[in-house]
């Protein structure tokens, strides 16, 4: 069962995507968790979260991006340039962060230089940086603009009825993921953090109905499985991570990542989309408001509270605050998280890393090991 999830989360053009395409259906990629999947579902299109996983170098990425840029969008562009995203029929770029939003220009220019590197539908989807009545209004209009563009390009009709259906399918998914989360945070969780990330990631790469079915089976099985004992319980916070290998390195033999606050992780299922009312408005409201990324400036306290609740609920021993180099949004917020969580006696470790092939595992492991030793020492003292 877990094999299915691992495969779907580690292969770009996985068997579900291949089967979907074989039926002549379309796939649209998006780069950021602020894009509502439901819109594409309602159009009969498979939404696929674009990733940088599997890039072995960034020669193409570096041709377009400057040097002081996060390696995640560079890896995404690399894969696009290498033709690894040829199965995409469209791509949505957002101003999730500055590195990511410049993927817009860089991908377009690469598309001119390298044949087939860019899908025919390419859309810049604006996302406000604050949550107010007038920003929700603007974002709702932006979502309508996206819907209209999808309808026109793919010659489909996205009806309210279909949107509502999509919302209900995705909400079902969120409810299942809540149950999954409850298992993940048990005193003796039935699966590792690496497996947990695979399960969550798979959701962004396969058709949602099939995902829900698989997820339900997985939960039923996990509920009966024996738990993993005696591990240091970690929470992983910070920059985007779509590599289950990173979690594997951190967990090693001694630790378990039992919670996260990542955009490729639990942020997707923290809240439901309202099922009554105008579906476009409800989607816009939920995606703008309950997606706790430091790009939403001035909202630190709320995010700190979320972390504190998670620490309590999941009985976290230590928090790993990681950021990809040049990710100042997470990097800086991690700095204050560290101050405020440590003040409440929650051990934290900050870690800056490069996105991409896990070349720094030695250094990372050394630090995580030392962190685990610190936590174990605390336990002994206690």
């Amino acid at each position: 069962m877990i094999k299915e999830f691992i495969e779907a989360s580690t292969a770009l053009n996985n068997k579900y995507v291949a089967a979907w395409k074989k039926d002549g259906k379309k796939v649209v990629g998006y780069t950021c968790s602020y894009v509502p999947d439901e819109i594409f579902h309602a159009a009969g299109i498979l939404p696929f979260r674009v990733r940088g996983f599997g890039a072995t170098d960034t020669t193409i990425g570096d041709t377009y991006f400057g040097p002081f840029i996060c390696s995640l969008p560079k890896c995404m562009l690399q894969l696009a340039g290498e033709g690894k995203f040829n199965f995409l029929d469209g791509a949505i770029i957002t101003p999730g962060c500055d590195s990511m939003r410049r993927l817009d220009e860089c991908w377009r220019k690469a598309g001119k230089d390298i044949e087939g590197a860019i899908p025919s539908f390419f859309f810049h989807y604006g996302v406000p940086h604050k949550y107010e009545d007038y920003t929700i209004k603007w974002f709702t209009e932006e979502t309508r603009r996206l819907i209209a563009a999808v309808e026109e390009h793919f010659n489909v009709k996205i009806t309210d009825a279909n949107l509502k259906k999509a919302i209900s399918v995705y909400n079902e998914s969120r409810r299942l993921l809540d149950r999954f989360e409850a298992l993940r945070t048990l005193d003796e969780p039935p699966f590792s953090g690496e497996e947990a990330l695979a399960v969550i990631l798979a959701g962004t790469t396969m058709p949602r109905e099939e995902y829900n079915t698989l997820l339900e089976e997985f939960i039923a099985q996990a509920e009966k499985s024996p738990g993993i004992k005696n591990r240091v319980r970690l929470m992983l916070v910070g920059s985007a991570n779509d590599d289950i290998g990173l979690v594997r390195v951190m967990e090693g033999e001694k630790a378990l990542v039992v919670a996260d606050n990542l955009c490729f992780g639990s942020r997707f299922y923290t809240d439901q989309v309202g099922e009554n009312g105008d579906p476009v408005f409800e989607l816009s409201k939920r995606y703008l408001g309950h997606n706790d990324c430091p790009r939403m400036y001035g909202d630190y306290q709320r995010r700190l509270n979320i972390l504190e609740q998670k620490v309590k609920r999941a009985k976290i021993d230590g928090v790993v605050l990681q950021n990809i180099r040049f990710c100042d949004l997470h990097g800086a917020e991690n700095g204050i998280f560290e101050r405020d969580l440590e003040a409440k006696d929650i051990p934290c470790m900050r870690l800056e890393r490069e996105y991409g092939p896990l070349v720094e595992t030695g250094r990372m492991k050394m630090r995580v090991d030392a962190f685990i030793e610190r936590i174990q020492q605390r336990r002994e003292v206690a």
Partner: protein, 468 residues
């Protein structure tokens, strides 16, 4: 941060330095020369600015005045707001709030102190801020995080949607010091009904925030006065920009910096108008006599900087340009988007420009919203670089109208935004016939690349591209 740095109030030090500099010329020339020896790290810049005559004298005076306002803000019972260069301070002045402009203070510090802002830059990292963040804010905000600046009441920025590292510096500092935060958020498009409405709503929210923080209602009579003054400043700047198009340009090299710095410090205030008026007088005189503004008297080349300047100690960038007979045709910071600016009229970009309308309270607020959304950087670095009204269009338009021979990019390694697209921009400007040089230095931190290395590479570029 060294112990001795913590001993002095940061803003008090800057105020003292500029106050002393503003009095230098009151003595005899001999006394003046004698005094310069006592300020070895500041003497060249003082001399460069003061040698421009009345404009320079006035400029140093308003820097001193600004620092004085800031240093004594609390004693005078005023609220203080940490803000950014691309935020028009007119609204703060109308509400009796003292604006603390991070980047301008970083430039002042970099210009005059041997160590520049390095200790404050590093202090930010010590308390958890990333070292890859932009040095322009870090260089000053470090002092406030360390508690050696005037008490801060709030943080206000308008860079969300434009520059992450800028906005993030404000968001970090406000969380760190637990002070109120407000952002004006910028949608990707500059024009159009949706953007206009968004800007308007957002600006109204700002006024509600400022009213709540100060406990006072916005004084519209005062705002009207400030905006009229701002309009007067726009007229002067428009004329200065028009004069700069003449060959040879009658505008001296340091004027660009003095124009934008005055605006960032005192937009809508008579202090800024005074500096601008005196600059205009000199430029007009030079133009009438057909004299070049360069101190060598001969214009060899014209440079347009498509982003920001390099603020190494002693204004070395300006010195280098002046020494080599390179007429400096401004950068993205020094061009404002008033409806009467020459580049607006020339390219019929009225849609992208702002008008000041003081006819009603609503009109006043809308005008302010428009001014702010069209501030340097805010205007053209928000959407894709090749979209209408954005970076490429502005760069090519300005380079053309000012007859630039080449284009230079300089920024900071913290600038995720421009580093994400500058290679593409340079590709396009080269295609349009402008040799384009990308500098890898940090405008605010010469530890990244020393000025000597920067200068050498710059001159190498001119040689390789046969511009000299």
């Amino acid at each position: 941060m060294r112990q001795e740095t913590k001993e002095y109030k940061f803003d008090w030090m800057l105020w003292n330095t500029f106050a002393a500099a503003s009095r230098l010329k009151s003595g005899s020339p001999k006394e003046y020369q004698a005094m310069l020896k006592y300020i070895p790290y500041f003497s060249r810049i003082v001399d460069t600015i003061l040698s421009t005559g009345e404009p320079g004298q006035k400029f140093i005076e308003i820097c001193s005045k600004y620092m004085e306002n800031l240093t004594f803000a609390k004693e005078k019972g005023k609220k203080t707001a940490i803000t950014t260069f691309c935020f028009s301070p007119a609204i703060f002045y109308a509400m009796d709030i003292v604006p603390i402009c991070l980047e301008v203070l970083s430039v002042m510090m970099t210009f005059i102190y041997k160590r520049g802002t390095s200790e404050f830059l590093d202090y930010c990292n010590e308390v958890g801020f990333t070292e890859t963040s932009c040095s322009s804010q870090r260089g000053t905000v470090g002092a406030y995080l360390a508690g050696i600046g005037t008490d801060v009441d709030m943080f206000v920025t308008d860079t969300p949607g434009v520059c992450d590292t800028n906005a993030n510096a404000f968001s970090f500092a406000s969380a760190y010091l637990n002070k109120p935060f407000f952002q004006l958020d910028m949608p990707p498009d500059l024009t159009g009904q949706r953007s206009n409405e968004y800007h308007r709503e957002d600006f109204r929210a700002l006024i509600r925030f400022l009213e709540a923080q100060t406990g006072k209602k916005l004084d519209y009579a005062r705002l009207t006065e400030n905006l009229r003054e701002l309009a007067r400043q726009d007229e002067i700047i428009a004329e200065l920009e028009d004069l700069a198009r003449i060959v040879p340009s009658p505008v001296p090299v340091p004027y660009n910096l003095m124009i934008y710095a005055s605006r960032f410090l005192f937009a809508g205030m008579p202090e800024c108008t005074g500096v601008l008026e005196s600059m205009l007088k000199v430029a007009r005189d030079n133009a009438a006599k057909n004299i070049s503004g360069l101190s060598g008297g001969k214009e060899k080349l014209r440079a347009f900087f498509c982003y920001i300047d390099h603020y190494a100690q002693n204004m070395q960038l300006w010195q280098m340009l002046d020494d080599n007979g390179i007429c400096y045709q401004g950068n993205i910071l020094s061009h404002f988007w008033s409806h009467n600016a020459p580049h607006v009229a020339h390219y019929h970009k009225e849609d992208a420009a702002y008008h000041i309308d003081t006819s009603s309270e609503d009109a006043l607020i809308d005008s302010l919203g428009m001014i702010n959304s069209r501030m340097p950087m805010i205007k053209s670095i928000r959407g894709p670089y090749d979209a209408p009204n954005m970076w490429l269009e502005d760069t090519l338009g300005l380079a053309k109208i000012y007859n630039a021979d080449f284009i230079v990019y300089n920024g900071t390694p913290g600038c995720r935004n421009t580093w994400g697209m500058v290679k593409l921009l340079a590709r396009d400007t080269e295609k349009a016939g402008y040799p384009t040089y990308i500098m890898y230095a940090d405008a605010f931190d010469s530890r990244v690349q020393s000025w000597e290395a920067t200068e050498e590479r710059f001159m190498e570029f001119l040689k390789v591209r046969r511009l000299v």
